[in-house]
Symmetry: C2
Subunit: 247 residues, 2 copies
């Protein structure tokens, strides 16, 4: 069934109003009629709702039932990544949304080759949020990935007290602190994992990360590119943390 | 250090000859000189070798030492996938090579929208093998992903006696047969995992797969697109099977 993310104020139980682009999508792309059902989600609740009335700029629905299946990870995962080229960032946002991430933070790092044009900031954020919204709908999630504007490396270091665990992917990490040991059987509320940009993480950055309680982890014996590493991290965390879902 | 895949007959211990495209790459792209070192790998052994002589169409090297680090998965993984569009297939081949897969098999399935032009078969296979070779080098693997030409669904079913375990990703799979239960603490030599094409797996195909001992597995509570599912499978298998590497 088609899914749409709506704002909480569009719900007045048992009534829902869909407006804006989604309204066009339902009528013109999906060609739905009165009586058809869709799933509406306000990032807290998900409902199956029936279309009662269709007009050009709004669609009125009635809630049939609330969906209670848990599709979100039991722990909130933030992927921070050294600023990478636009196409790679879009691929990563798309993939980690499907794989259940909560937040994506681009970080200005020493070896980031990619530029972020501040003048085009708003346009670019709109596009990235659209990708996140569509990937969330496609993968049947109840939350949309939260995409942040680029932050400085120092600001990243300052986030260490907001997370139960801050990690960074580092090919030279010793195996003593493995991802498995760090997360297995721990009741973690939220985890941040930093992945370097294409050029990697500089020695000075590694040293600052360690000083700020970021723990280095390896992603296995093969070297993963920065655009593949986040998918590996999300998959491994999903596999480990969603054991009750019996993947 | 830069890596090059060579054929076994290019090695005459302690001498190695590099020829063809790699020869051009070393001279013109990497601008290496006599005395510089590279890693040469014949898919069985990996060596650090020093450049002794450079000419237009061949480079002579001497082996300095053999590399003995194990970077290959302890179990050979084949990803079979319903035939998908060219760009998606290339992304999947690139990603699963980095993540350690052994073989990729495109399968002609009922809901495959993508076409495979048999007249362009050779050209396309050359390109796919080049992507696999470069991704293998980039990720420091000692084996190149083996890319097969598309096979029929019936031929896929016939492969069931060549693998210790044949699985297929199926969103409606019951959680009784979880990936974890199927692989944990088993000494498996090889596993095949089928992922459907964009359009999914038809009911008839599901039934034939079950009749031929393919076991349905879920990939967690979120719905993954066909181009993301193989990366999830490889990451989860790497996380589970490479425990001794302490990911």
């Amino acid at each position: 069934m088609q899914r749409y993310f709506i704002k909480s104020d569009q719900i007045n139980n048992p009534h829902i109003d869909i407006i804006g682009e989604d309204c066009f999508h339902i009528q013109k792309v999906m060609r739905m009629k009165v009586g058809d059902c869709v799933i509406c989600c306000d990032q807290i609740h998900s409902y199956i709702a029936r279309i009662d009335n269709i007009s050009v700029d709004s669609i009125n629905l009635t809630i049939i039932e609330e969906l209670l299946n848990e599709v979100e990870l039991p722990c909130s995962i933030t992927i921070a990544q050294g600023l990478v080229m636009r196409d790679k960032m879009e691929t990563v946002i798309d993939n980690i949304t499907e794989l259940g991430a909560n937040t994506y933070i681009p970080v200005r790092m020493e070896f980031s080759n990619a530029k972020w044009n501040d003048e085009k900031n708003d346009k670019r954020m709109t596009r990235l949020n659209k990708i996140a919204k569509e990937a969330s709908e496609q993968s049947h999630r109840t939350k949309i990935l939260n995409v942040l504007e680029p932050i400085s490396f120092e600001d990243l270091l300052g986030l260490n007290n907001q997370y139960d665990l801050c990690l960074f992917a580092y090919e030279k990490a010793s195996a003593e602190q493995s991802l498995r040991k760090l997360i297995k059987n721990k009741k973690l509320q939220n985890i941040l994992v930093l992945v370097g940009p294409e050029g990697g993480i500089s020695k000075e950055e590694v040293s600052k990360l360690m000083d700020n309680n970021f723990i280095p982890i390896t992603l296995g014996p093969r070297i993963l590119r920065t655009e593949v590493a986040p998918a590996f991290i999300m998959s491994a965390l999903s596999y480990e943390l969603e054991e009750e879902n019996d993947i």
